[in-house]
């Protein structure tokens, strides 16, 4: 095997970037899971939908319902608009797909999130067509050259934004009343309610926060991939794998699990087999489940009696 330190460093940066995306989406899974005990199968579509919405306002020319749009609004304004729209969407999602089923165990909610996923993917196809769209990059240069090391600025942006979000989340959870209420709700809903926490609202806020994590990952990853109705599916499955590798329900575990899968899969795709890149995450997952079923960092909620 040819060993090349520059190539390896480049792979490491790529791996960290894609791993950051998995980590953000994994956090979205874990937060909803901790709050309501259900895995949201539509999480990947919360990566896809905002990417399409953003493209509609950013791209020089894009067909929405067959109508050509040429808005080309300034990117920051578009990002804010998408975040506002997705907040509204998250509240709607919480109200329709979760709230009526909240007392019926986890399976009906899982099926209803699958229904939401089918709906959103086909809504996207109907609205934006089945051709992959390319997302305008916020950077003019494709790669920056650091003495032979070619780094995509988008990768650096992804890593920086993820690091910032993780710090933000730490402050939110550890230093604010809202974050403490979210944690209390996740730990024990009945007791939280007895303590005067408005559990319904906290759960709705958790949904919004999770959807926004998906939104931000979508806006970050869209310039790297093309935007298709399927783009979120595989990202979400790998993020789910990441959250289990780290120990389900465990927040630092989700982040480290995401980064691990991103890095290992990038190196594996390069050195072992590019055809099986997508299988690597699941091989890691199955190996971890067999050897250490509680995940690398232990789980928060037992579900494997």
């Amino acid at each position: 095997m040819h060993f090349d330190s520059i190539a390896n460093l480049q792979l490491l940066i790529n791996g960290f970037a894609i791993g950051s995306i998995y980590a953000l989406v994994a956090l979205g899974f874990v937060l909803i899971y901790n709050a309501v005990g259900v895995v949201n199968f539509a999480q990947g579509d919360f990566v896809m939908l905002p990417s399409y919405v953003a493209i509609s306002f950013l791209a020089p020319s894009v067909a929405v319902f067959g109508v050509q749009m040429h808005w080309q609004l300034p990117p920051l304004a578009v990002y804010l608009l998408v975040i506002v729209l997705m907040t509204g969407f998250a509240l709607l999602f919480n109200r329709i797909a979760y709230y009526p089923l909240r007392d019926r165990g986890w399976m009906p909610v899982v099926i209803s999130t699958i229904g939401v996923s089918i709906f959103l993917r086909n809504f996207a196809q109907l609205t934006w067509g089945s051709q992959p769209l390319s997302f305008p990059s916020p950077f003019t240069a494709d790669t920056i050259d650091f003495g032979g090391l070619h780094v995509r600025p988008q990768d650096l942006l992804i890593i920086a934004v993820t690091a910032t979000l993780i710090m933000f989340q730490y402050v939110l959870f550890e230093k604010t009343s809202l974050g403490k209420q979210m944690q209390a709700t996740a730990q024990d809903r009945t007791t939280a309610r007895l303590l005067g926490i408005r559990v319904g609202r906290i759960v709705a806020f958790t949904f919004v926060y999770s959807v926004l994590l998906g939104t931000i990952s979508g806006l970050l990853v869209a310039p790297v991939f093309t935007v298709t109705k399927e783009m979120g599916g595989l990202i979400a499955l790998k993020a789910f794998a990441a959250s289990i590798v780290g120990g389900f329900g465990n927040i630092p575990g989700a982040i480290i699990g995401g980064l691990t899968i991103g890095v290992v899969e990038t190196f594996g795709g390069f050195y072992i087999s590019s055809a099986y890149t997508d299988a690597i995450a699941f091989v890691i997952l199955i190996a971890v489940l067999l050897v250490r079923p509680q995940g690398l960092f232990g789980e928060r909620v037992a579900e494997k009696a």
Binding site: W106, P108, S112, L126
Partner: protein, 330 residues
């Protein structure tokens, strides 16, 4: 003869009339064969999820393994339909054993994810193991079954083979449900710890459920492969596994009839919605959400509620207990 047996016989007789009624339309008969093959796979999932309470999102992989095994055996190894289909079924069951065993310590979401991983790996193998599967170009020329010199190549005649398999599958599944293995599985679904305390070997019955789910899906997949004659990896994706799960839940997770009706309904629903053109899958997604909210126990539960309303109350005891369990859990 009990009411359930009479109902099953009426259903089989009605299904047997389908090729006569639809004899002019290969399109409709093809859909009926499709619904039959799907319903076998869904019944298998019903044993795993409905009886034993183990969530699987990898049923399409078993379906694909059955299809590819039977396709390869008939096109490359020179076997005939009658040898290849049982072999395909046995292979899927064996894979079910191999997947079921490591998955035993998992349940709930973990199991769902491990089965998703298995499905994705299977699909990648189907795409990339070109020597065996011919990759994404798919495998073509899968022969129709023959009896002596007579080849069963009309959809009408083939439908009877599928119908026989569906009936046999339904019979076996309902016998399992009513006897010791089925009761043991249902006890595990309700409370694994309590079931173990009662002396039920949970490991054995969970593996059995995986093996049966694999065998059923393998049979369905093989039957479909010999009907459509061409298979490609796209048909066995994660989305197909989701469709199987939705068929089962809509039909009623622990009901044999529900599995068949759910599979048939969701096979025909897209065709009925076709006038909506491109938006039909969107409507289908919305229909799934509405059905799960408004029909908690699926079509089977709805039907039971309607029957209960118009008939005298049954004997207290066996019936009511058997009808209740899926309410909260599945």
């Amino acid at each position: 003869m009990s009411r359930a047996n009479a109902g099953a016989l009426v259903a089989i007789a009605a299904a047997a009339a389908i090729p006569v009624v639809f004899r002019g339309s290969d399109y409709l008969l093809n859909l009926c064969v499709l619904a039959g093959a799907y319903s076998i796979a869904v019944m298998g999932l019903g044993i795993l999820l409905g009886y034993a309470g183990q969530m699987s999102l990898g049923q399409a992989a078993f379906f694909g393994i059955g299809a590819y095994a039977s396709g390869w055996l008939t096109t490359q190894a020179g076997w005939n339909f009658w040898e290849a289909v049982p072999a395909a079924m046995a292979l899927s069951a064996l894979v079910g054993l191999c997947v079921g065993y490591p998955c035993l310590r998992l349940s709930g979401h973990y199991l769902a994810l491990a089965t998703i991983g298995f499905g994705i790996i299977t699909q990648l193998v189907l795409v990339n193991w070109k020597a065996f599967t011919n990759g994404s170009d798919g495998m073509s020329g899968i022969p129709a079954p023959a009896i002596g010199a007579y080849t069963i190549d009309s959809y009408g005649a083939y439908f009877y083979i599928v119908l026989a398999c569906v009936s046999a599958g339904a019979y076996v599944s309902s016998r399992i449900k009513a006897t010791r293995p089925g009761r043991a599985m249902q006890a595990i679904r309700e409370n694994e710890l309590a079931a173990s305390a009662m002396g039920i070997d949970a490991t054995r019955y969970k593996i059995l459920a995986f093996v049966l789910a694999g065998a059923y899906a393998g049979l369905g997949g093989a039957l479909l492969a010999h009907s459509i004659k061409f298979i490609s990896p796209d048909s066995y994706s994660f989305d197909a596994s989701v469709v199987f799960l939705v068929m089962l839940i809509i039909g009623g997770a622990s009901s044999v009839g529900g599995a068949i009706v759910g599979a048939a309904l969701l096979t025909f629903l897209p065709e009925v919605l076709r006038p909506l053109k491109n938006s039909y899958i969107m409507v289908y997604g919305a229909a799934v959400i509405a059905m799960i909210i408004f029909m908690p126990q699926g079509l089977a539960g709805l039907l039971q509620a309607v029957i209960a309303r118009f008939s005298p109350p049954p004997d207290p005891g066996s019936e009511t207990i058997a009808a209740r369990p899926s309410a909260q859990r599945s």
